[in-house]
């Protein structure tokens, strides 16, 4: 379903306007007209910095993960599992920490669904990590080195019949099913459905129903929790969808870091072909979710292209071309890519200032990148942000935080095009450091 009527006939600019309007006017009950105005002022701050106009002040958007729960005295396990406690903590957190966006509830991952399905890709409290640990990723070669053609020929079949049985315990029977594309003519329904009459597949279907019920409970609770905080505190969400760089889908999800690093030497053409194959999937993934959430920003965490993870030549060869196609595809849909370059991107700044990507259409959030250099390369071209170090939030003092934020804003924010944010996604941090980060952002960011 298209975002609006006549979507196909709209230009990228008109699509962006439509999405921005929808973002500024959500179907949320605001506590007062003043709070609705507050919300719309915040949306305006973000639109201004993205489009490289000077904002009324610097918008403040640290990435939050477990911190809203942990800072209110919950364990990590409670934050994930106990919707009532989380909802309570969520409101208290937003009352106490006056950032310009809702905390990122997508990071409070739906563990009840993982339980229903025996999800193996992550560890989470009670499943491989302790009660006070965030979820962690079990990276492995979930796609074997000799399976590139299976992926390239039919990604959906590869996903259902090879990848999913390896990462989701309940989905093991998928390995024995035929691809759904076998259903070309009536007679094929007979053989296709035979496995569905067997106990393992029927057991899988029951588990999927359990997961569906858990998902309904999850979305009802999370939608209510976010809508309540939005309405009470006038907080826009920071992103409405997620996608990934094709090379990261290979490196994070399928081949693993090590496997993919060997592949670029042993079978570079297959790596390139697979990345190309994943481009339309990566675009479609975001468009569908952003159409549903009616939010223009697409969160794109970037991993395997960071400094050190590839030579610059290999970044330009393997990583950037297909990420760029995804970015262009999203921009054409009127979406705003919000790349979060984890690690350092100092060696990439020259490459990512790519004139084929129109100016003022996306955001580069950084982690350990030198921000003055980032400003030098990207200033006047795309909005930048992030960078407040996780180590400082964990081990520093409020004064360290004030000094850091003041310097950062002085260095890169004075003419706009900047979002104050954290260099990492925050689980544990010192509460006074997070508070001071926000306070310093308001203090120094109002002087732009």
């Amino acid at each position: 379903m298209a975002f609006t009527d006549g979507w196909k006939d709209l230009s990228a600019e008109q699509r962006l306007d439509a999405r921005m309007d929808a973002w500024a006017n959500p179907a949320v009950e605001f506590e007062s007209d003043a709070m609705k105005q507050h919300y719309q002022d915040r949306v305006r701050l973000f639109r201004d910095v993205v489009e490289l106009r000077k904002p009324a002040r610097v918008p403040i958007a640290p990435w939050m993960s477990l911190f809203p729960g942990l800072s209110q005295g919950l364990t990590a396990k409670e934050t994930y599992y106990d919707y009532a406690k989380l909802a309570d903590a969520w409101m208290k957190f937003h009352a106490e920490y006056q950032q310009d966006v809702l905390a990122f509830s997508i990071n409070i991952v739906p563990v009840h669904i993982y339980d229903a399905l025996d999800y193996k890709l992550y560890d989470w409290p009670g499943h491989g990590v302790g009660d006070n640990s965030g979820y962690q990723y079990n990276e492995a070669e979930y796609m074997n080195a000799d399976e590139y053609d299976l992926l390239i020929n039919d990604p959906s079949s590869f996903w259902t019949r090879f990848y999913l049985p390896r990462v989701v315990g309940a989905f093991e029977p998928f390995a024995g099913l035929d691809p759904f594309t076998d259903l070309v003519e009536g007679p094929t329904l007979g053989p296709f459905f035979i496995p569905f009459g067997t106990p393992p597949v029927q057991d899988m279907l029951k588990k999927m129903i359990d997961a569906g019920n858990a998902a309904m409970e999850w979305i009802q609770n999370f939608a209510a929790m976010d809508a309540k905080a939005m309405g009470k505190y006038g907080l826009p969400g920071f992103a409405g969808g997620v996608t990934k760089a094709p090379y990261d889908i290979l490196g994070d999800t399928l081949r693993g870091t090590r496997g993919l690093m060997l592949d670029i030497f042993r079978q570079p053409d297959k790596v390139l072909e697979a990345c190309e194959r994943l481009v339309p999937l990566a675009i479609d993934w975001a468009v569908r979710s952003n159409d549903t959430t009616r939010h223009p920003f697409v969160f794109i965490p970037l991993h395997k292209g960071a400094d050190g993870f590839l030579s610059d030549a290999d970044f330009r060869k393997f990583y950037w071309p297909t990420l760029k196609k995804v970015l262009l595809g999203l921009i054409d849909e009127g979406l705003v890519p919000l790349c979060f370059a984890e690690g350092a991107y100092n060696d990439r700044l020259e490459t990512i200032h790519d004139e084929e990507i129109p100016a003022g259409k996306m955001v580069w959030m950084f982690d350990a990148t030198n921000m003055s250099e980032a400003k030098k390369h990207l200033g006047g071209y795309q909005c930048i942000g992030g960078n407040v170090p996780g180590a400082l939030l964990t081990t520093g003092t409020a004064q360290d935080m004030d000094d850091y934020v003041r310097q950062l804003i002085e260095d890169v924010a004075m003419d706009g095009g900047f979002i104050l944010g954290s260099g990492i996604v925050i689980d544990e941090a010192k509460t006074d450091c997070v508070k001071q980060m926000i306070a310093a952002g308001l203090k120094y960011g109002s002087e732009v």
Partner: protein, 209 residues
């Protein structure tokens, strides 16, 4: 002696390197000399890494070639004297963190550099580091993490190591969030910003510098 093998490894031509080793062994070459050629290649790659001309994929690919070469040499090396190790390093990713890629690269580099490396894996309990260091009479405990939430585990290992009086064993930390400030916070003796620096630091410490 051949520069050909060294060059093949430096160029990361895996097939060529392994074929050369096969040929040299068939010709009756001394496996210790072959190993020396390999180490010369790894030194070049290490230098390139330190100079920002080679990156993690090159280190991993070179390590992979070395694994292949070692497997070929192993049956021929049994009669030779075991080489002198530089010292014992007990290494692991600290409790609360299961990231292993950075730690594994450091393990490979320390191993190639000639250290006796005891790899405890990931999510390693505080006491495990200390007990293993005691048992193996380690000169160095090396701790890795990616998550900032695991920094406190490093601090706890440092405290436990100090309490246990490990006979001068020094404590090294590393990983993406590690800075001088984190070193001070944890009480560790130092950090390497990457695998090459970690090896350099270990060599300095063992050398008594």
């Amino acid at each position: 002696m051949t520069q050909e093998l060294t060059q093949a490894i430096v160029d990361l031509r895996e097939g060529d390197a392994l074929a050369l080793v096969d040929r040299q062994l068939a010709d009756g070459a001394d496996p210790v000399a072959i190993l020396a050629d390999c180490k010369a290649a790894m030194d070049v790659i290490g230098d390139r890494f330190a100079a920002g001309e080679a990156f993690i994929p090159e280190l991993i690919m070179a390590g992979e070639i070395m694994t292949g070469v070692s497997a070929k040499l192993k049956p021929h090396l049994t009669a030779t004297t075991p080489e002198e190790k530089l010292g014992v390093v007990v290494i692991g990713t600290v409790q609360g963190d299961i990231h292993d890629i950075g730690k594994d690269i450091v393990v490979t580099m320390l191993d190639i550099a000639g250290f006796d490396v005891v790899d405890l894996g990931v999510d390693v309990k505080i006491d495990k580091f200390v007990a293993t260091a005691q048992e193996r009479e380690a000169q160095i405990i090396a701790m890795s993490c990616l998550l900032t939430s695991a920094i406190d585990s490093m601090k706890k290992v440092v405290a436990a190591a100090h309490d246990a009086d490990l006979n001068g064993c020094r404590l090294m930390i590393g990983g993406a969030p590690i800075t001088e400030q984190v070193v001070a916070y944890t009480g560790a003796d130092g950090y390497g910003k990457d695998a090459v620096e970690a090896v350099e630091l270990a060599k300095q410490w063992i050398g008594g510098a």
